[in-house]
């Protein structure tokens, strides 16, 4: 587990872009993914973002971890929507009878007689790729941005300087606190705490108790941090100079304009023609 804030090593259009257009892109894509319910466009969008992640050098391992963690949840989505989402897809598709893909034999205990619908399946696919888009756009934007650019970009985007500072200082200090967690647990084991013999609930309670010395230790250190900040003339006043500049290039403006147009187009086409709606024009060939 890497404790450092990761950045991609490859140079790409994403690393050349300023933080502001990228954050804007992240917000627009998230909103659009929320509006759309068509499995076809969701799949296309998630696929595009995945390609962009590969292209910009986001580590495969990272993407794999996300997918591995999400898979059980995705299976649950697929199963529940396939079997149980009946009334919603009925109203969305306007069908009274759903297309049955397969049924579970009547004699099976508890779940016997359930049928898995094609429409429910596609709805599940929509939700899966919707989440995937929203999750993957984060590393695409964050990991391709230099930390300095994040902070300065935040300030330039009118995020109050204090917030930008807290963001940056938190990034500096959390790895220290994370290693404290290990130290505290080690200290407890050195006092006879037999983690090996514990069940999950007991272990959880050990971890919960770790938070107490962790927070108290951090609060004690914060007093020191406060003095350090003051001795460095920190006042939280945004009227200061900045070592790193953040000037929007033509490319940045182009991206901002592109995503504004994209957002409007996506919304209008969805509202007027049902583009991206479930079972709408984009899903025509599925049902």
């Amino acid at each position: 587990m890497s404790m450092k804030f990761q950045t991609v090593e490859r140079d790409s259009i994403f690393t050349r872009l300023d933080f502001r257009p990228k954050i804007y892109m992240m917000l627009v894509l998230t909103v659009v993914a929320l509006i759309w319910e068509s499995p076809v466009v969701q799949l296309a969008l998630a696929f595009l973002i995945l390609i962009a992640c590969f292209f910009s050098g986001v580590k495969m391992k990272f993407i794999r971890t996300i997918l591995l963690i999400m898979i059980p949840f995705y299976l649950l989505l697929l199963i529940t929507h396939g079997f149980f989402n009946i009334s919603q897809v009925q109203s969305l598709t306007g069908k009274t009878e759903l297309t049955n893909l397969f049924s579970i034999p009547e004699n099976w205990w508890l779940i016997g007689g359930l049928s898995f619908s094609l429409e429910g399946f596609w709805y599940g696919i929509n939700t899966i790729f919707k989440t995937l888009t929203i999750v993957l756009v984060v590393p695409l934007v964050i990991f391709t941005t230099d930390l300095d650019n994040i902070i300065v970009g935040m300030v330039r985007a009118r995020v109050p300087y204090k917030l930008a500072f807290i963001f940056s200082a938190t990034l500096r200090f959390f790895p220290l606190l994370f290693s404290e967690i290990g130290n505290i647990i080690q200290a407890q084991r050195l006092r006879g705490l037999a983690m090996e013999k514990m069940n999950i609930i007991q272990r959880v309670s050990v971890y919960a108790k770790v938070a107490v010395p962790l927070i108290l230790g951090a609060m004690v250190q914060s007093q020191q941090l406060e003095i350090v900040l003051q001795s460095k003339a920190f006042s939280g006043d945004p009227d200061r100079t900045y070592l790193h500049e953040s000037i929007l290039s033509r490319l940045d403006y182009a991206v901002l304009i592109f995503f504004t147009v994209f957002l409007i187009a996506a919304f209008v086409s969805w509202a007027v023609w049902g583009f991206g709606a479930f079972a709408g024009p984009t899903d025509h060939f599925l049902f």
Binding site: I184, R191, G192, A194, V212, P213, Q224, K232, A233
Partner: protein, 576 residues
């Protein structure tokens, strides 16, 4: 007349909600170009003094303030901290909490940005200050990639970048290993000598302070007891001892010699000490053979801890131990030394299964450690880790000390008795209902020791027990270790403070780059300067003086302490 950078007139200060003043009646002027050393035991008010010079005291803390402080002509109560910060740069003890940015260049730029220094000027200053502290080319590094000494040097560079009139360093080396401490001291001294930077430094490191400072002030209970040259202060042994301050070994040695009516000056620096020693010998002062205690031999029967061909590689690929073999017998007092990263902690963590061997074996009491759990091992091998604060997790001192006993499922009666006993032996019984974190740092360290000793382990490991402790605190803990040793327990101490150990340790393991460089009795190990130097350790001054003495006389003197060294000189009957 030289310019005055800092001027304190009748300064007294009291924190809010406290009755006693923490600074009282301080009068002092610091001149441009001085290296002013401030010494005093823990709790004397050194940190408050430092914070008063840039206005944090009293502007941030509040409280009652009397008198006047002027920094570069600015009254510290009439100018905001951010204005004073332009004139006073400050470096603190903990390398971790004082670096707040995510890269070296941002760290240096941070104060400058706050001071509204134009960007072009910031860009100009960064390489300049990095060069001053010899950290060129590290601009883009993350602070986590730097060693302890480098971190402190970066903190110095960041303070220098604002081009202050005064640079304050509050215990900048106490968390560092000898290499790091040396880097910091030589950097600061260079800044002082070559660039004329005015320095105010607080430190427990007497030898270095005597070496580098131009003037020393002794702070005790908030009062400036004495101000003078290092020669005046450090040669006044009774003054230092009365204030629980460590005497540089050179001064201590010649003071003891002088006590024997041998006319001799008391030098405070090593080089002068060697000169005085040479004079003594050329004057044909009489010498006797020292009466040294016999070395104990423990190597009998089955070893308590048996390490064979131990290798350890961390998950990130760092190879920390390369084939280490070692036997530890019951009743030994073992000292493990070596630079940071030499593998000291990695080695002892294997005794407790906190780390598992990559290859090789660890056998504890005849049983392969792989078959034992950490908690089972911990009951027999008490491990007192470095920072007491992340070893405290209960709401009262009593619960803290009985925590292990409950885990080990002792009877209620047994828990009561053992907890009470352990608290009393550490002098903590009266605090049993207090929250551990409400106690001062030295006492918190003792709570942790009490909590480990309550398990009545046969072996006790102290990992850097004296880091961040003053002279008295360090000896309090080491005296405990000696008492345990006298009770027949096996004691292992890891430390950088070689000068503290001759009165305690018997056997020394010198580690370097993941191997054991030397395993020898302390008297032999401390004189193997070559091996010590190869892992960046320097023997205590008494040892260096003994080596000089051997050179001068052609006889081998293996003396470890100022007292032993002084004992060689016979009392002068009175005739000069």
């Amino acid at each position: 007349m030289s310019d005055i950078i800092a001027c304190l007139e009748n300064v007294s200060y009291q924190y809010p909600r406290s009755i006693e003043p923490v600074l009282s009646e301080i009068n002092l002027s610091i001149q441009k170009g001085e290296f002013f050393g401030l010494i005093g035991p823990t709790g004397a008010g050194k940190t408050t003094f430092c914070c008063a010079l840039n206005g944090i005291v009293p502007q941030f803390y509040g409280g009652r303030f009397f008198g006047k402080i002027e920094i570069a002509g600015l009254d510290t109560l009439e100018h905001p901290i951010s204005v004073l910060a332009k004139h006073v740069g400050q470096v603190f003890e903990d390398p971790e909490t004082q670096l707040i940015a995510t890269s070296v260049e941002n760290e240096i730029a941070f104060a400058l940005e706050n001071l509204k220094v134009p960007r072009e000027e910031i860009i100009r200053r960064i390489p300049r200050v990095l060069e001053m502290v010899r950290l060129e080319g590290t601009e883009k590094k993350h602070p986590a990639e730097l060693s302890g000494g480098q971190k402190q040097r970066l903190a110095i560079a960041a303070a220098l970048a604002a081009q202050p009139d005064l640079l304050i360093l509050d215990e900048p080396t106490s968390q560092l290993d000898p290499v790091g401490a040396d880097e910091v001291f030589s950097t600061v001294s260079e800044l002082n000598k070559e660039l004329g930077m005015t320095i105010l430094m607080c430190s427990h490191a007497s030898e270095e302070m005597a070496e580098y400072a131009t003037r020393i002030g002794l702070l005790s209970n908030g009062s400036l007891l004495s101000v003078g040259t290092p020669e005046e202060i450090y040669a006044d042994i009774p003054l230092l001892i009365n204030n629980n301050l460590r005497v540089p070994q050179v001064a201590s040695t010649f003071y003891s010699i002088k006590q024997k009516n041998i006319p001799v000056s008391i030098p405070v620096r090593l080089e002068e000490g060697k000169k005085v020693l040479t004079e003594l010998i050329t004057k044909k002062t009489q010498l006797t053979t020292p009466d040294l205690k016999d070395e104990l031999v423990h190597k009998e029967g089955q070893p308590l801890i048996q390490i064979k061909d131990l290798e350890h590689t961390y998950p990130d690929g760092t190879k920390a131990l390369h084939g280490v073999s070692l036997d530890i017998h019951t009743g030994e007092y073992l000292l493990v030394i070596g630079q940071n990263g030499a593998g000291k902690s990695t080695l002892v963590k294997h005794f407790l299964n906190l780390l598992k061997p990559t290859s090789g074996t660890v056998v504890i009491n005849g049983i392969d450690s792989k078959k034992l759990t950490v908690s089972a091992l911990a009951a027999n091998i008490g491990y007192i880790a470095q920072n007491p604060d992340n070893q405290i997790f209960n709401m009262t001192v009593w619960d803290e000390v009985s925590f292990a006993l409950k885990n080990l499922k002792f009877s209620k009666q047994e828990i009561e008795t053992r907890t009470e006993e352990s608290l009393k032996s550490m002098g903590l019984y009266e605090y049993k209902d207090r929250h551990p974190l409400s106690l001062p740092k030295g006492d918190r360290a003792r709570v942790v020791i009490a909590a480990i000793l309550a398990m009545e382990p046969d072996t006790i490991i102290f990992d850097e027990p004296t880091t961040g402790q003053d002279f008295r605190g360090a000896h309090y803990i080491l005296d405990i270790s000696r008492k345990l040793h006298e009770m027949g327990k096996t004691v292992v101490v890891i430390t950088h403070h070689l000068y503290l150990m001759p009165d305690y340790a018997e056997r020394v393991i010198v580690m370097g780059k993941g191997t054991i460089l030397l395993d020898a009795p302390i008297r032999q190990a401390y004189f193997d300067t070559e091996k010590l130097n190869s892992t960046y350790l320097t023997p205590p001054q008494a040892v260096l003086l003994s080596i000089k003495l051997s050179e001068l006389t052609g006889e081998a003197y293996c003396l470890l302490t100022p007292a032993e060294l002084a004992s060689v000189f016979t009392t002068n009957g009175g005739a000069a």
